[in-house]
């Protein structure tokens, strides 16, 4: 990139003028970074060391909030285990489903705009409405899903009762995972964008060499878009670990049945904004921050082995 031509009326060394100009352009973000990211994270840590009810005096208690949370607070551990189980189910299935659909949607085919809209559609429904529809469709007695399952079973001569879905302690989380699978529109768009950048010459060359579609997909297309998969892996991990709206609406904030839908961020919301125990709430926030940073770090570490960065544009 060419340097800015120094104009005669400007003063100071070139680097300083460049710095000033650069900072001027990014200045909104400097405020955003400091006020809406750095400060809250730092303040969060500071609050977490206090007994603090949101109003009035703060009392310094050291690591007591953390200690209490880890040793005495049952809700904390319920939230942790529910969230981990959900994350372990939702992230891999979500990645595979979105990738598969995106690859299918990327084939030149009549009607693709309509298909794409169909698969994106669920993301456009407000979470609240979606959760309510889900609640109705998965109602064990009156719901559409069990009617279909039981009806199909009858056709082959089986008389079964469908699962309890959101009303059952065992099935509640898998039902939420299904709901998550239904919301893969955003990752699909990201993958579709990445798929546009897979070099056609490479695919053509492989086709000439006799590689069939499946082999081309597995050995060229997917490796070429590993950066997008990697990005999606991290963002969906972070999203899953913060799941809030759907279980909140479905359970009315209770996390029932048997607390199987009481997720970490719901516990945090409860502590912070319903019990006004801001010290404990921020301690939970920091634990989440640490956990997510750790997972992200480990994923970045692993990325050297499987993420392909062939983009020559970045090497300058």
């Amino acid at each position: 990139m060419a340097a800015v031509t120094p104009a005669p009326h400007r003063r100071g060394p070139l680097w300083l003028r460049q710095l000033g100009l650069g900072l001027a352009f990014v200045s909104p973000w400097l405020v955003g970074l400091l006020a809406f990211r750095a400060y809250p994270i730092a303040a969060s840590f500071w609050y977490s060391l206090h007994e603090f009810r949101g109003l009035g005096q703060m009392r310094f208690v050291g690591l007591e909030n953390y200690w209490w949370m880890l040793t005495k607070d049952l809700d904390f551990w319920t939230g942790v285990s529910n969230t981990l189980v959900y994350t372990l189910m939702a992230v891999p299935t979500g990645i595979i489903a979105a990738l598969t659909v995106a690859i299918a949607l990327n084939v030149r085919l009549r009607g693709q705009p309509i298909y794409r809209t169909i698969y994106f559609l669920p993301v456009l429904v407000p979470d609240v409405a979606l959760s309510i529809v889900w609640l109705q469709m998965f109602n064990p007695q009156y719901g559409l899903v069990n009617t279909i399952i039981e009806g199909l079973a009858k056709l082959v001569g089986l008389d079964i009762v469908g699962p309890g879905w959101l009303a059952s302690e065992v099935w509640a989380k898998p039902t939420l995972v299904l709901m998550h699978l239904w919301l893969i529109g955003h990752p699909i768009v990201i993958y579709l964008a990445a798929l546009q950048d897979v070099p056609q010459e490479l695919l053509d060359a492989a086709a000439v060499d006799g590689a069939n579609w499946l082999r081309r997909t597995l050995h060229i297309t997917i490796p070429m878009i590993t950066p997008a998969i990697f990005f999606q892996l991290i963002t969906s991990l972070i999203g899953a670990m913060q799941i809030f709206s759907q279980p909140w609406v479905i359970t009315g904030g209770t996390g029932q049945p048997a607390q199987s839908l009481l997720f970490y961020s719901m516990v945090l919301y409860r502590k912070g904004f319903q019990e006004f125990n801001m010290g404990l709430g921020t301690a939970m926030a920091w634990m989440l921050f640490i956990a997510i940073s750790l997972f992200t770090y480990l994923l970045f570490k692993s990325s050297a082995r499987w993420v392909y960065y062939g983009g020559a544009e970045e090497r300058r």
């Binding site: 909104p28 955003g32 309510i132 970045e314």
Partner: protein, 301 residues
């Protein structure tokens, strides 16, 4: 021999390529359509429920088509649509208006801030730029839940709880994901264009507004759509900050159809359809731009 080879090749081509491809295409259609139906089913359910009378809600087996049962034939409850506007207090139009105001202002904020910042990262050279960009990228991975309580306290100190400001103002200060998307897009615009303009004496801001922005329309549209949709469907933000019904958004308003002992399913689903359809149309017509606008080359930390 030559003819034989030719015949073989032709036969092979006819057999392997087009037919296999035709079958493959057909299979793909079947797959996409079949899976697509399961994706459409909940939406269909929403529409069907919106037209059912209340007593038909818990029928066994459920009515997949609201008029499949002859006894309800003449009773498609179209009134649910107009009634869903007036059932809540204040009327739902207020919630829709509130949401549109918040989403529009957030989108304006995102469009004013992010391109400017992205330009600073993509097209200018200055000491510390790469370091700051690395920090920026790392904040994509910052969980927003972790910042929730301190931000709430800040906004409370400012007296903004109960107003829309906490939901709007932060968007005027950039978001790392949009900055990243736009930066990647700006990087694909040839630098010669900017250099030529500089030689002609244009300032950086002029180059930004008159050369880069017009070329980056798909990326700007993508950011606008993402932001608008995120604000439109946000739930936690409004739940946290909006405590009076007059300022409620659609997400909070929809919960008003759910009362302690009873839920107005029909009205709720009618309103859900009403607020979803415009967004679907928007996506359908904007999707090409949408996907073009996402440039991911060099997606790394």
């Amino acid at each position: 021999m030559q003819v034989g080879t030719l015949r073989q090749t032709l036969a092979a081509r006819w057999l392997s390529r087009p037919v296999v491809e035709q079958i493959g295409r057909l299979g793909l259609h079947v797959l996409l359509l079949g899976l697509g139906i399961t994706f459409l089913l909940p939406f269909w359910w929403m529409v069907a429920t919106s037209l059912k009378p209340n007593y038909a809600m818990f029928r066994i087996p459920p009515l997949l088509v609201p008029f499949q049962d002859p006894s309800t034939w003449d009773r498609l409850v179209w009134e649910n649509y107009p009634n869903s506007f007036t059932f809540t207090k204040p009327p739902f139009t207020i919630f829709i208006r509130n949401t549109l105001i918040i989403a529009t202002l957030s989108t304006i904020g995102a469009l004013l801030s992010n391109p400017l910042v992205a330009y600073g990262f993509a097209r200018l050279r200055w000491p510390g730029r790469d370091l700051l960009f690395a920090v920026t990228l790392s904040t994509i991975f910052l969980p927003f839940i972790a910042t929730l309580i301190p931000l709430f306290l800040v906004f409370r100190t400012l007296g903004w709880v109960g107003t829309w400001w906490p939901l709007i103002v932060p968007h005027f200060f950039g978001a790392p994901f949009y900055i990243f998307l736009l930066r990647q897009f700006f990087l694909t615009i040839p630098t010669e264009l900017s250099d030529a303009a500089r030689i002609d004496g244009a300032g950086e801001f002029q180059i930004f507004t008159q050369i880069i922005l017009p070329l980056a329309k798909p990326a700007l549209a993508t950011v606008a759509l993402f932001e608008f949709m995120a604000a439109y469907r946000d739930f936690l933000g409004p739940l946290l900050y909006l405590n009076k019904e007059e300022v409620y958004t659609i997400s909070l308003g929809l919960q008003k159809f759910r009362m302690e002992y009873d839920t107005e399913w029909g009205l709720m689903m009618a309103m859900s359809v009403i607020v979803t359809v415009p967004i679907i149309l928007l996506f359908f017509f904007a999707q090409r731009t949408f996907i073009q606008g996402i440039t991911l080359t060099g997606l790394k930390g």
